[in-house]
Amino acid sequence: MTDFLKGYDIQYWLESAPQGYLLDTEYGHDPDAREPELVLSDPVLREQAVRTTVQLVVGERCALAASSGLINAAPDEPSRRFLATQTLDEARHVEVFTHRLLDLGVKSSELESTIADMANPNLVKFAELLLERVDKKDFVAGVVGQNVILEGMAFHVFEMMYAANRDANRKFAQTLAGTIADERRHVGFGENRIGSLIRENPDRKADVERLQQEMSYYMLATFGSQFRQGPTPQEVGEIMQRGGAPATSSAEWKGVKLSGADPEELEAALADTILREFKVRLERIGIHYQTPHRP
């Protein structure tokens, strides 16, 4: 256990994140990178960008509250130190995505009301469930909820968003790339640490499976409702073409052309990827995937 945690110490984190892929960035991107003019001027694109970013802020706020709350529940000192780095990663994500909302023209005075109005209720419910477990200092449930379910599932959404924005919005894509790099560490820690804890405490397995069943419903419902809100990818493509934005027709993720896909196609590709890899991840920690039921 100690050897595996050596790879998650603060020295490693300092060298790989602040002194590595975050070097020379400001709020997660090159200092001179800006939101594309079209995203700021077109009301449909701007609202979609604000709505998407609000979900990122809500998810990251949940992760910040959970990772900091889990420090006191961690069973060993190396895990506490890892969670300290995760806490700062999550705070950084909150900061860069909040900063993006301001860059998109949301006024500081309207920040909280915008977030409250646009937050996806399924994501809010997920956060409530997770933080309930964290408040009870349930380390296993907290790490499964946060590092395996929330981050493990969100990871693929971030990758898809990165693919869609790589050419169209370098600034946003770069903040996503930094976030993805952080999430990789968090997911790795979750799998490794929880895998060993479940092996040591097999009596927790049934409870963790129930938790997965309940929590993953809200994550999948969040992704589904996000796809069904706002303009379709074709509409976005048309607006961008009319506005003379860089062509994104080549943007592809898991074999799906992102600019031409309809929402159902995207949702299916995402659900397929998330679920397939999520099941593999759960197997690695000794948990069998439970199909979520509508509550």
Binding site: D9, I10, Q11, W13, L14, P18, Q19, L22, E26, Y27, P31, L64, A65, S68, G69, I71, N72, E77, R80, R81, L83, A84, T85, T87, L88, E90, A91, R92, V94, E95, T98
Partner: protein
């Protein structure tokens, strides 16, 4: 960039607070003094070997620093939930990782000194007053007492650590001195956050002062007892002990709790 120290002091108060409590500010600040270090220090081939008595005393002192840093790590992590706004949450996240780093570099130093089971050494050598302080701090956080917990952690605990670490860095072997110097730089930011947060809380609700004065009376005895033990392990003279206790008391008094 915008978060350079010289520039931030020209900002209006709200913008200044937002800036100095950001990840970005932390990032720029630590980059300067942590780059090129591994576990808080560079190679020091010139460092003299410690004799057995010095080594033993240093291990005991480091064990007690670890108790303080563990309190600060758990404290800063727990305070995030209580923080009233985003900027305070982000600042406390940077403090959480600072405290985690302090714990890591101190335990690493103990391993360099030949301690195999760090946890057992800390449990055996921890000063009971410091352990009680830690329990009291975590109890304040558990009960959701934001102002009192910030006072206990970012003023009392940090002021004590700042005074002791700074003095110890002046007389320590080169490796320990570099480790402590890096920690002291972080503590300055933490104390600044505590003073600023409490200064505003006192301005907005003067009654808070009564609560904090009572808490200070309770915590001072724990702090001064543990200071006395640590300074004895460091072979500090009576005059140095008096000076350090005064430094600690002055730091707390700056907030008006004479």
């Amino acid at each position: 960039m915008s978060s350079e120290l010289g520039e931030v002091h020209g900002l209006p108060p709200e913008a200044f607070r937002e800036q100095v409590r950001s990840f970005q500010f932390w990032f720029d600040a630590v980059q300067g003094y942590l780059e090129g270090q591994e576990y808080g220090h560079r190679d020091h081939p010139e460092a003299p070997a410690l004799d057995e008595d010095e080594r033993e005393r240093l291990i005991t002192v480091l064990c007690n620093y670890c108790v303080g840093e563990t309190a600060a790590l758990e404290g800063a992590g727990g305070l995030i939930r209580l923080a009233p706004n985003r900027e305070a949450k982000v600042f406390l996240s940077t403090q959480t990782v600072d405290e985690g780093r302090h714990l890591e570099v101190l335990t690493h130093r103990m391993r360099e000194l030949g301690v195999d089971d760090v946890e057992a050494a800390i449990a055996r050598r921890a000063n009971p007053s410091l352990v009680r302080f830690k329990q009291r701090l975590l109890d304040l956080i558990e009960r959701g007492h934001w102002t009192s917990a910030v006072f206990a952690q970012n003023v009392v605990l940090e002021a004590m650590e700042f005074a002791v670490f700074r003095r110890h860095a002046q007389v320590a072997d080169p490796i320990t001195a570099e480790v402590l110097a890096g920690i002291v730089k972080d503590e300055r930011r933490h104390i600044g956050f505590g003073e600023n947060t409490l200064g505003r809380a006192l301005r907005d609700a003067p009654a808070v002062g009564l609560e904090l004065r009572a808490l200070r009376r309770e915590l001072d005895s724990l702090v001064l007892t543990s200071l006395e033990h640590t300074l004895s392990d460091l072979h500090a003279s009576t005059q140095e002990k008096t000076d350090l206790s005064r430094d600690y008391l002055q730091a707390v008094t700056r907030l008006g709790f004479a």
